[in-house]
């Protein structure tokens, strides 16, 4: 395991001054891309991801069409300048895996069966990466889908949790992600209370993992409120 030079928890506080269960400052902007059917930008501290949705739209070549439902396609991509060492814009293995797990995290929430033979495309661009990019992207994508008017069973809220210097924490930043002992990516449909994403790497006992899942659920509920607020703000009737 990679070891950090500095301590990641000092006197109960994290490298960025947060308490273990504290989320970073969350910023949500909606309709950031005028050409898209729906779009949103979400920032968790320095991590910033833009999501846009196109569709449901005609899907060609025809052999890709599903006759009883729409298909959801996701592309997670990191801008070359979003990280310390320039990232090649070619999709790497990590981006391909993340595109898949993000798609599967969103799919349960969407009434795909309402739009046979079409595709719904979700594009995610990480503008700046400082940990937890996939979950930030899921939050943005879920808003963008709602803003595109796509019928959904629930919003999808996501956050990361993990173990850093022996302490269980919420919303990992880049350093904690790199040098922590374990990290978990988690997504929740909050009204239905169902999990749509669960990934873990690192070392955890079952008890620690269960506690982290509980912490992730609480954090997702807070994010849910912020997402709803952003949507209400947009559709507010103005005098």
């Amino acid at each position: 395991m990679k070891k950090s030079e500095e301590k990641l928890i000092v006197k109960g506080k994290r490298v960025d001054g947060r308490l273990p269960e504290e989320l970073r400052n969350i910023e949500i902007k909606v309709d950031v891309i005028s050409r898209a059917d729906g779009s949103a930008e979400v920032a968790f501290g320095n991590t910033r991801v833009i999501a846009s949705v196109y569709g449901p739209r005609a899907l060609y070549p025809k052999h890709l069409q599903e006759y009883e439902s729409s298909i959801l396609r996701c592309r997670y991509s990191m801008a070359p300048f979003s990280v310390d060492e320039r990232k090649s814009p070619v999709p790497d293995r990590r981006s391909i895996e993340l595109s898949k797990v993000i798609r599967l995290a969103l799919e349960p929430a969407i009434f795909l069966e309402d739009f046979p033979k079409t595709a719904i495309d979700v594009f995610l661009e990480v503008v700046q990466a400082d940990g937890s990019t996939r979950v930030t992207g899921i939050n943005a994508a879920s808003l963008a889908l709602a803003l595109a008017g796509i019928p959904m069973r629930d919003l999808v809220c996501a956050c990361s949790v993990g173990k850093v210097d022996g302490t269980l924490v919420v919303d990992l930043n880049g350093k904690e992600d790199n040098f922590g002992e374990a990290d978990v990516a988690f997504a929740l449909m909050p009204s239905k209370n169902k999990i749509t994403l669960l990934q873990m790497d690192g070392l955890l006992s079952k008890e620690e993992l269960k506690k982290l899942i509980g912490m992730a659920k609480e954090a997702c509920k807070k994010i849910y409120e912020l997402q709803k607020k952003a949507l209400r703000e947009k559709y507010k009737v103005r005098e």
Partner: protein, 252 residues
Amino acid sequence: MESYVLELLEKGKRIDGRKFDEFREIRIEENVVQKAEGSASVWLGETHVIAGVKLELGTPYADSPDQGVLIVNAEFTPLASPDFEPGPPGEDAIELARVVDRGIRESECIELEKLCITPGEKVWCIFVDISILNHQGNLLDASALASLVALRNTRIPKLEEDKIIRGEYEGKLPVRYKPINITVAKIGNALLIDPSFEEEKVVESKVSVGVRDDDKICAIQKQGSKEISFEEIDKILDLALEKSKEIRKLVK
């Protein structure tokens, strides 16, 4: 076929007559490829994968200059299933390789710090290549098991003035743990161990859990296009912890 699988499950039965928490017959053959530094063939019922380990000299990662490098790759060879096509690895093959990689890496089972030759310059790179030879379901557990067995019988080639002498060895790869991957499939209310190909077609969710010898969980990956409840995750973790012990006994 799919509706028959579901119909049987409602009656508490699986299509091949297994119990819900029963693996198919597991067969392991070691050292199946003499050219490789380590290798293993694993069968879960008719599912067959082969893992080979090759060692090369290379440069370490900048953030771990005194550690060996681990690279896991999987090929869904088109001979293994009518659904596989020739070409570069697709997202399923990439995901599988990355989950296997995480189980090995995060469990810290390979003592990578012992594989450094010159810090910052020269280390051993361990290439684990997985070839799927027959796809009858649960490729992940089969691949993780084959990779572990192959790593545990891997020999380190002899070095003479920093050149590899192929075919001659000096010592074994230091592998201290046996991380086991257990995939649990959810279909309706049923939680099934080692899903077969027919069962995977109707799977709602699958959760793969990597478990180390000391019951520490080292990797989790939820798959499948449906949601899952908190209670189910809890049951899945218990099942994985219990089953991992049984599988670990098969590994030398």
